[in-house]
Every structure is written in structure tokens, then in C-alpha cells.
């Protein structure tokens, strides 16, 4: 296993535009090879064939040298969850029984799954609200891979995907938003319903279904056909721009009218994190998110946005165990998580 567990994605550097509200921007394309059946109909030798062909293509385009290609035991539970927690692979990749692969670039901004729902799914992550970087890099990778691979395409339905929900551009763009201001001012539901009415999909980032933790949300396009790639980006980016502006206004309102209450919430969270001896992933996520809010507002100056955002991932079960280099039971994890967080937050 060649991982750099404590070093985490450049997309979490907290340096991109509007980083106080937007954690990251993600652009994902799905592609299938024209001459091979889709994943549900693939025989094992075909799965291997696709794996080899894609690896070949990544090598020829020079991408393989910029990262690592993971296979086999790295992509099953429990180790595979490490990539899921880092938003580099989907849970389905880890649970499926296919011959599969995952390419991850050195800085973790580019990742590519082989034989998940589609033959190829690749994504680019950028720090903050930055479609120019994320889309630019994803389009470039698409272009280069297409020089090596023949994709399944129809003039009517566009890029053909295993599930018709992805057909067309096969492009899914999403923005990972931290919206504590809108949650505290109770404006969140209105905003999210508005985004949904405009054809976007809104989900909580952690937790199953629509349950949200830490006031972290993911907004993405629902439709992939009938709009060009540029239009999809424009719509999602336009709606997110509005949400970001609302969040800024809500934060100003809170700082103006309820400053002491907000400070109390933020410092209590920091106090709990610095004092806890046992802590679950869920509780830590909620508290860290509140601390992140405090850093973004300038209430806490001794921590950086990036440190706190990265902790949100490092404390998750698989990452924690890889970092500590040990397999831990649930109770052991809660104890070691508390220690890990305390050490990171000591100033």
C-alpha cells in the first residue's frame, strides 16, 4: 500500500475563490468503450480488457506518471473506503465485485474509476468555487483519453451510459457548500427548494439520503441531456453564485445581530474538540464544521480553513485507521479520534 495518508488533496487547500463558503468544485464525466458491453453484461475477460485498455491510455497520455493506479485488494472493504472518504471513489466501486481500477493523481485532484457503473468515470476536483479550473482540466483529460479510446456515442443520445440518467453529455458538475449561515437563519430550506425547482439536485454531503451533517451540502445538475456542457456549468454555477451570496448575507446578519451567540457556538465547539476523550465521526464532523465556520468568519484566527476542512476527512474511520496504521474497533476509534483531533488543534 503506497498511500500518503496525512497529505490530502490539493482541492482542500482552502485557497480557491469563495473558500469561506465553497469547499470544492467537482466535474465528472462518464464514458464507455464502443466495442465492449456495459458493466452489467461484461464477462470477466472483458472487464480485464477494459482495465488494461484504460491503463494503457492513461500511460500514453502521460497521466499514469502523475499518480497511482490502484486495483484488487486496495479497492475492497475496508481499505477501499479510504478513497471513498476522500471523495476519490464512489461507494459502489468498493462494493462491486468487478475487476476494477482507480487512478488517483498525486495531488488527488484527478481520479478515474474503471468498471464501476460505466467503463470509465473520471472527475476533477478544484479548491473553492472554481469551475474554470475543474472543467478545464476535466475537458483536457477527456480530449486526451479520446485520442486513445473509442467511446460509445450516438448523435441522438450523446455519450451512451449504462443508466439513461447519465446519457448525453454524461457530465455531472457539483459544488460542495458549507452553509451554516443559512441553516442558522433558517433560510436554508427555501434556498434549497429554489435550487431544486431550477433543476438542480441538492444533497447532504455526509450521511445517507438527504440527511445532512455539519451543514455541508452538495449541489449538482440533475439533467445531462439536452444542454451543452457549457450550459450545464453555467446553470449550476449561476445558482451556486446566488446561494453563496445568500450565505454571505446570512453571515453578515448573524455577525451584526447575534455575534455573541455565534461566538459562543463556535468556541464551545472548539472547546469540545480540544477537551473530548471519546468522539464519534458524526459528532466530530458537526463540531469541526462549526469551527470551520468560526475560522471563515474570523472569530478563530489561530487555525486555517484548510486544516479544519482536511480534518473533516482525516478523522473518518478508514482514513483514521490508515493514518494510525492500525485496525481499530469502534470504541478504539472513538478514543483515538479524540486524541488525534486534540493533537491537531493544540496551539
Amino acid at each position: 500500500m503506497k498511500l500518503a495518508p496525512e497529505k490530502i488533496g490539493a482541492w482542500l487547500s482552502g485557497s480557491g475563490p469563495d473558500s469561506d463558503v465553497v469547499i470544492s468544485t467537482r466535474v465528472r464525466f462518464a464514458r464507455n468503450l464502443v466495442d465492449v458491453p456495459f458493466v452489467v453484461r461484461m464477462k470477466q475477460f472483458e472487464q480485464e480488457l477494459v482495465l488494461e485498455t484504460v491503463r494503457w491510455a492513461l500511460a500514453d497520455t502521460g497521466y499514469l506518471k502523475q499518480g497511482q493506479f490502484f486495483e484488487e485488494e486496495m479497492l475492497v472493504e475496508p481499505d477501499g473506503l479510504y478513497f471513498v472518504e476522500r471523495h476519490l471513489a464512489s461507494p459502489d466501486l468498493i462494493t462491486c465485485k468487478n475487476r476494477k481500477g482507480l487512478f488517483v493523481s498525486e495531488d488527488e485532484t484527478v481520479s478515474l474509476m474503471v468498471n464501476e457503473e460505466d467503463h470509465i468515470r473520471f472527475q476533477v476536483l478544484a479548491s473553492g468555487f472554481d469551475f474554470a479550473t475543474a472543467f478545464g482540466k476535466a475537458a483536457e483529460l477527456d480530449e486526451k483519453l479520446e485520442g486513445q479510446l473509442a467511446y460509445a456515442f450516438s448523435p441522438e443520445f450523446g455519450f451512451l451510459t449504462a443508466c439513461p440518467t447519465n446519457v448525453g453529455t454524461a457530465l455531472r458538475v457539483s459544488v460542495f457548500l458549507h452553509l451554516p449561515g443559512l441553516v442558522l437563519t433558517r433560510e436554508i430550506e427555501k434556498v434549497l427548494r429554489g435550487a431544486y425547482a431550477l433543476g438542480l439536485l441538492v444533497r447532504g454531503v455526509y450521511g445517507e439520503g438527504s440527511e445532512t451533517r455539519g451543514n455541508l451540502f452538495q449541489v449538482s445538475n440533475r439533467q445531462t441531456l439536452g444542454q451543452s456542457e457549457a450550459e450545464i456549468v453555467e446553470v449550476v454555477s449561476g445558482v451556486c453564485r446566488q446561494i453563496i451570496d445568500y450565505e454571505h448575507k446570512a453571515r453578515q446578519f448573524l455577525m451584526h445581530n447575534l455575534r455573541v451567540e455565534v461566538e459562543d457556538k463556535v468556541f464551545r465547539s472548539l472547546g469540545l474538540l480540544r477537551g473530548a476523550r471519546i468522539i464519534s465521526t458524526e459528532e466530530a464532523t458537526n463540531l469541526l464544521a462549526t469551527v470551520r465556520f468560526g475560522v471563515a468568519l474570523g472569530i478563530i484566527n489561530e487555525l486555517k480553513l484548510a486544516e479544519v476542512s482536511q480534518l473533516l476527512i482525516l478523522i473518518r474511520p478508514a482514513n483514521l485507521q490508515v493514518i494510525l496504521g492500525e485496525k481499530l474497533t469502534g470504541a478504539e476509534q472513538e478514543e483515538r479520534r479524540a486524541t488525534f483531533i486534540r493533537e491537531k488543534l493544540v496551539r
Partner: protein, 165 residues
Amino acid sequence: MKLCDICGKKEATLVVRQLDKDGKATDLNVCAECAKKRGLTGVEESPPESGAVITELKSKVDDSDAKVVCMRCGMSFAEFKRVGKLGCADCYQTFAEKLRPIIRRLHGSVQHIGKTANQGRKRAQERLEIQRLRAELEKAIKQEDYEKAAALRDRLKRREDETGS
């Protein structure tokens, strides 16, 4: 923020497009409450969640669906409805008639706009063929069919020399 054209008080969340006899469209901004009162929900409302469309699909498998089968991968339309995934690129062609209404519901459109694929790059085809030959060769060796294996090995060698792989 746009106010509701009916009550003039609440924020409009819905656009209702009305067509007159001549087909001229008028857009009306309506808030959720007024829309409900006037029975306007469902008109020009946001498209359904894709998950809901797929779930509905799974619940409506009928006999006629079993008869439409993709020649290339053998998937029937009934099976697609059950698993929610297609078997190969040809399925889109085979099931086009039945897929169009589903795709329209999912995306509000059935015509792709945007980037076009560069079809059938020669190099990609060559590679796939080499991979296929390798797999066949392995199979022949496993089955101890050495005559076939030798022929495959020669073909593979020729192809590799030609493509420089």
C-alpha cells in the same frame, strides 16, 4: 426576488406558462401557496427526480417488454426495467422507441446537444483487437488447444508488429 403575480406578497417559486388559442405564451410567477389554491401544481413544475423515474420503471414491467431483446448483448427491455441499466451501446438503438419517453422524462429532452465523440479512432480499435487476441490465446492454452494457440500467437505477433505495441 420575484413576487407572486397572484397574491403579490409571497416569493414566486413556480413559473406557469399559459398558451392562448394562437399559441402565444404568457408566463405567470406564482408562489407555492397560490399555486396550490388554484390547482396549478404539476404545471411546469421541476422535472421528477431521476431515482423516482427509475423506481417507477421497475414497478411497471409487462409481458411485451420481455419480447424486445438486444441482438448484441441479449438484454431484454424487461430486464433493463428491472435493473435500471442497459447492457451495451446497441441497446440504445434496439430500445430507442421505448427509451425516448423515459429519457424525455429524465432530461426534458431527447436530443443531445454538446460535444460530439470522435468515433472509431484507429488506434483504439487496434488495441482492443490485440487485447481480444491475447484473451483468446490464453483461453486456447488453458483448454490445451495448442494448434489454435499457435495460430493465435502468430496473428497476435503480426498485429503487434504492425501497430508497434
